[in-house]
Amino acid sequence: MPILATRRMTKRFGGLVAIRALDLEVEERSIHSVIGPNGAGKTTLFNCVTGFYRPDEGEIWFAGQRIDGLRPDEIAHLGVARTYQNIRLFANMTVLENVLVGLHRHLRSTWVGAVLRSPAVRREERWAHGEARRLLEFVGLGGRLNFLARNLPYGEQRKLELARALATRPKLLLLDEPTAGMNPAETQEMIQFIRRLRDELGITILLIEHHMRVVMTISDRVTVLDYGEKISEGTPQQVQADPRVIEAYLGTRKVAAEALG
């Protein structure tokens, strides 16, 4: 059974159909990429799954539960986390605090408990700090705990965003262009990292990516969107060979032929 499934999901903005009747199935513990030209509806798909947008038609199912119509925080509690295309950190909080916010849903303390600082609250805070440090070590930011997020270099901001998402202990992690702006070495490192997430932590990955090399290297399955519609789906090899995909990326066959020849 797929961990995430959309059934005939449609999202419109005014007259524009951003996603049309999309059927998507993401298998558990797989790395599933969504590709397509700009404006194909990839990020809209992410926003629907995480509850920022409510689909106009259709259903979204996650781990056997219908989630369209739930609030973003409720969906987060079910085990969905994400990163953003243009990194969105809590800029004026420290690296450690960013990850602690990610741990929010695993903490129980109330405001009264926080004021009295009961033993239970203290234990919980100690655990959370340890957990946050461990996660930051995991992504390679162990030496940056007390830096403000906004002062980190770009590459480390990406890592911090990942650590924060991982802190929620997601079952499904949505990554929106995780290798954007990275050099080949960093990209390679990210590919390894994403694999580790699946293999060591058992997290299902749904990935938006523009680097075709990355997509073809790590994906178990690839879905291609164009103008909000699914035009192709399959293994990387199948998708690469699909004439509709070539058409969507390079225009009509005639134009493609001209462009190539």
Binding site: L89, F90, L100, H104, W111, A114, V115, R117
Partner: protein, 552 residues
């Protein structure tokens, strides 16, 4: 560089025409020698030189830049003198009085005064350039000395109060000319002493290893102890007037701590905050009053928890409709709430219960075991205890799961929600707890005044509380205290500033935003980072080959 001069010149002319220079001229900094007004103008000339020099490449060019900027500023003031002789400025600027002109022209004809200002400006501009170029270890003690003399002059009523006891009369007479200002020898002694102290302090800090006389923890404990003793002794030494000012500072601190939860931590801009102060005050008023509107004749101590609870509920209730509103729109919506509450208590419909514009009268003072907390000196301690408790609660909240959630929604509401933070409960807690803090302030206010009127709860108070948070440092708890001391306490003590209070506010806010946007005492996160950077630098100095690597 002449442009810097023009800006400073315009400021100098504006402050003169607004009447601030003349008002300050009434106060001697050194009796018979220099007035505060002259210090202000001199400071502007000096500042023009320093700013201009700092913008120029090091070298002799800096001196030229300073001279030109100073001269330009002086020329602008000279122009004002010349203009006032030929044009009737007073029809437009009521404060362009003969006294001001006398001060600005030193009794000379306009042409001479003009030249005089250019000359004085050049000299002070050059000095300013020198200050800008001089190392910190020279400028620091000098600035400390001058600051001490200025403080002695501006707060002389306060100092005189402390020197009230008869035994201190010789010191008093030596330092001050009765009813005027510090004596020349007194000012010189104060300058020398404080500058010397600054030098010694510098030498101690510069010692290799920078280890103090005591280990850091003990040193900190000593400072806290000194602070506590000063806090408790202040109203006794300063008398009822100072105590009264400090009680007001305390009330603003309580409100500031509450608004700091909303604005500083959670980023919810609330301009109707005074409403909760009013609700706390009215609740205590109604519950304790022995007058016609009193409903329960409770004691103050029984009424306070109820007042806090009522304010908390009011905060939550008023928070519900604005849950989905963000940023600027939220400010306007809450602004409306503040006015609604004020107009409600003022309204005729509620007059039978709340007293309308007459307010609730005859609120008794609180008593402890039969001892009445009557005067401001007693209420001061009540305020200190209340502020300490509230600050403690705020501090614990800030460093908790909830505090982090507040900061997260301040930074990015959508992302916070996607991480599983329930915006509704977190926001309502911010509104409710913030309002509860203000309610504590309102409760003390009610017994301090002994009556509550709608007119005490103007929009202006909300704005002042916001301003003091900004000046103190958004999200910083000690910043709230510093902010209210600076924005509420100082203007009360500096009587000359009375009518110029809002001019000074405006200048202070604009200057803060330009020069130190993080506030006087910025929040912990910023400090922690500075600390982290310092540690990194030190590590790099100690072991250059082992400099920390950036991540993996």
């Amino acid at each position: 560089m002449w442009r810097v001069g023009l800006v400073f010149g315009a400021v100098a002319c504006f402050l003169s025409l607004a009447g601030l220079v003349e008002a300050l001229h009434a106060r001697w900094v050194v009796d018979g020698w220099v007035s505060a007004g002259q210090v202000l103008l001199g400071g502007l000339l000096l500042g023009a030189g320093a700013v201009s020099a700092r913008r120029t490449a090091p070298g002799l060019g800096r001196l030229t830049a300073g001279v030109v900027a100073g001269a330009t500023t002086g020329a602008a003031l000279g122009l004002l003198v010349w203009l006032s002789r030929h044009v009737d400025l007073r029809s437009m600027f009521v404060n362009a009085s003969p006294t001001l002109l006398q001060l600005l022209s030193a009794g000379r004809p306009p042409e001479e005064a003009w030249l005089g200002w250019v000359a004085v400006g050049s000299v002070l501009g050059a000095v300013g350039a020198g200050v800008a170029a001089a190392p910190q270890r020279v400028v620091g003690p000098l600035a400390t000395g001058l600051g001490t003399v200025l403080g002695l002059a501006l707060f002389q009523e306060l100092v005189l109060l402390v020197l009230q006891p008869e035994g201190l009369a010789p010191v008093r007479d030596w330092l001050f000319v009765a009813g005027a200002g510090p004596t020349p020898h007194g000012a010189a002694a104060a300058f020398a002493l404080s500058a010397a102290a600054a030098l010694v302090w510098q030498a101690v800090r510069a010692r290799p290893g920078r280890a103090g006389v005591l280990p850091p923890r003990a040193a900190r404990a000593v400072w806290v102890g000194v602070g506590l003793v000063a806090l408790l002794a202040l109203p006794l030494a300063g008398g009822p007037f100072v105590a009264q000012v400090l009680v007001i500072v305390g009330l603003y601190t309580l409100m500031g701590l509450g608004l700091n939860l909303e604005v500083g931590l959670a980023g919810l801009l609330d301009l109707g905050f005074v409403a909760f102060f009013a609700i706390g005050a009215y609740t205590v008023g109604l519950l304790t009053s022995v007058g016609q509107h009193g409903i329960a004749h409770w004691s103050f101590w029984a009424a306070v928890p109820v007042a806090v609870l009522v304010s908390l509920i009011a905060g939550v209730v008023l928070g519900i409709p604005v849950l989905g509103i963000r940023g600027d729109y939220l400010a306007i919506a809450t602004l409306g709430f503040g006015e609604i509450v004020r107009l409600l208590v003022l309204s005729d419909a509620l007059r039978p219960w709340l007293g309308g514009s007459q307010g609730v009268l005859a609120i008794p003072k609180p008593t402890i075991l039969g001892f009445e907390l009557a005067g401001p000196q007693h209420l001061y301690y009540l305020t200190v205890v209340a502020s300490a408790v509230v600050a403690f609660v705020a501090w614990r909240l800030q460093d908790s799961r909830l505090g982090r959630a507040w900061m997260a929604i301040r930074e990015d509401e959508d992302v916070a929600e996607a991480l599983g933070i329930n915006l509704v409960s977190v926001k309502l807690l911010a509104y409710g707890l913030g309002a509860a803090f203000a309610g504590v302030g309102g409760a003390i206010f009610a017994v301090m005044v002994g009556s509550v009127f709608p007119h005490s709860f103007q929009l202006l108070i909300s704005i002042q509380v916001l301003a003091l948070i900004i000046v103190g440092g958004m999200g910083s708890i000690p910043g709230v205290l510093v902010g209210s001391l600076v924005l509420i306490g100082l203007p009360e003590l500096l009587r000359e500033f009375g009518e110029f209070r809002f001019l000074v506010y405006g200048v202070a806010l604009v200057a803060m935003m330009l020069l130190r946007p993080e506030g006087l005492l910025p929040a912990a996160a910023q400090r922690r980072e500075l600390h982290a950077l310092e540690e990194e630098k030190e590590a790099a100095v100690v072991a250059p080959e082992a400099a920390p690597e950036g991540g993996c």
